[in-house]
Symmetry: C2
Subunit: 327 residues, 2 copies
């Protein structure tokens, strides 16, 4: 039996399941002060989403019984996974639960950008019939560049292909045969991908390597004429992590007309400040980090992370350990 802290909430079904395995589960948020004062010392495991931050200082303050950190979701940038590993703490995530939800939001944004769905709805509600101002373009016949080509990107590719798009990808961590086997053009340089694609969607982690990967220079290197010869402009979608897109560069590129549209579900600072310059721009399309905000994803993520945390506690094999905990 282990003691498990759940600090950012979890589906009831998953809590009950952990209790049925014999664990004691404490569902309660912990303040930074509590974390820094060693509130986790008495726990064997902690399950977080993105709200609870676990930097070096908090991990050090948690020395004691802690052997596994569960992240109910994909991105682990709120956890210092290397330091956790050096302390022998395994970090597990639940990457599959939200895949389909993020894929569907990405396609929603791609289509909505080129057809002005949000602007059309907004102007209609304001009593305008803006049909003539809303001549869009088709995705069909255009090149979609995917930065990162993991589970989510591969599913985006499959739907985008059914819409008639040609798929390009850049992922330095992917065996080339994965992409080739699906008919995707794999680029060995991210600059090459931008130079080839009118539409780019982000599906990588936020790391030092990917911070501000989407910058002014790369945006301006994108073609604005589609592979089918139609003038479709340049479009960027980010449903992955804030910070990969340089928001200042995007604002300036929209203002100058170099960039036609940007759709962001994630931002450098969340919640977005009401005075953020992007919020005033016609070419901006925003959603408040709802990539995984579906009934289906939330039900799945609770059960997935419960199973993964239990596996580590029980000394069983787990495919979802994202760091290298020292023995």
């Amino acid at each position: 039996m282990a003691k498990i802290a759940v600090t950012d909430g979890m589906d009831d079904t998953a809590v009950s399941w952990l209790e049925q395995q014999g664990h004691e589960v404490a569902v309660a948020s912990l303040s930074v002060d509590e974390l820094m004062s060693g509130a986790l010392q008495e726990f064997d495991a902690i399950i977080v989403r993105s709200a609870t931050k676990l930097p070096v200082e908090v991990l050090e303050a948690s020395r004691g019984r802690l052997m596994v950190i569960g992240r109910a979701g994909v991105g682990v940038d709120n956890i210092n996974i290397a330091h956790a590993g050096s302390m022998g703490i395994a970090v597990v995530n639940a990457p599959r639960a939200s895949t389909q939800s993020v894929v569907e939001l990405t396609i929603a944004h791609l289509l909505s950008c080129v057809r002005y769905v949000a602007r059309a709805d907004r102007t209609l509600r304001q009593g305008q019939w803006a049909k003539k101002a809303l001549k869009g373009t088709e995705l069909s016949g255009k090149r979609l560049g995917l930065i990162g080509y993991g589970r989510i990107a591969q599913s985006v590719a499959s739907v985008a292909r059914s819409l008639g798009m040609d798929i390009h990808a850049y992922d330095p961590y992917l065996p080339p045969k994965v992409a080739k086997s699906q008919g995707t053009v794999l680029h060995t340089s991210v600059d090459d991908l931008f130079r080839q694609c009118t539409h780019v969607s982000i599906h990588c982690n936020l790391t030092d390597e990917t911070r501000h990967l989407v910058n002014a220079e790369r945006i301006s290197s994108m073609p604005h004429i589609g592979a089918d010869g139609n003038p479709c402009g340049r479009h960027i979608v980010n449903c992955a992590r804030g910070g990969i897109v340089d928001e200042d560069a995007v604002s300036q590129s929209l203002a100058s007309g170099v960039l036609t549209s940007v759709a962001l579900d994630v931002f450098e600072n969340e919640p977005v400040h009401p005075d953020h310059p992007l919020l005033q721009m016609e070419g901006f399309h925003g959603t408040p980090h709802i990539g995984a905000a579906t009934v289906e994803a939330q039900a799945r993520v609770g059960m997935d992370i419960a199973a993964n945390v239990h596996a580590v506690l029980a000394g069983e094999a787990c495919d979802f350990v994202v760091n290298d905990p020292v023995a």
Copy 2:
């Protein structure tokens, strides 16, 4: 050489092509008074979009040389095609040009409805971070019911299937083997389809038979739990023709919570009146009849209708005559 009136505009390339075939093309809108006064008597052909109306009275006032009416688009409800036929006038359309554009807008609306894309963008621009209020549902695992199963619906089915939806269809004019060969469940009654599907999209013509086909009773007969067991609510999309959806019934169903969302690109009266009750409702998603409003569709439709009108004038075979002109 024939004289051709183009009253609702046409792509320059298509006008030039008709002139190269030896025709005289007059691009100018004609008022109802001019049409009723016989302005078309001196023309062999007229090419319209949806703005120019050609009812019995206008057709009668046009008796003279008129032998072909070209509709640069799909729907011919602005033309009395039976009466034109009785006068020996062929009506041709250009149904393929806008197919992909309408398909993409339909998928955009389906995805945007279940993920609140327009509302998310609207509230973000208002300075709100409404993440918690915007928990949506996935399309994957749900049943999509298609009313009408022609070119557009079949392409919608293909993309929706790639998103993980199960496809149902109702089309009394379709050979059953067409649907079966694609794995689509074909219903012999439209009521059956509504009783099976949480998501319904309209892809038929407006006729006496289909007017107000989407009514309060059918909406309330839809399941609100998805085929995958998740509570997804009820969703209607119409990118076909206004009038097929009973807007009063939809407003009341949204107000009572029976209907979760409706996305309309077409309306019973266009432009929509600024006081239309739907414009105030959260579950409404509107676009101002932009299904065919893309660079690609407009380029294709001009060339398609020019070719079809020329074929009739030249006495050649044309697959796109939609009435039975008497010899």
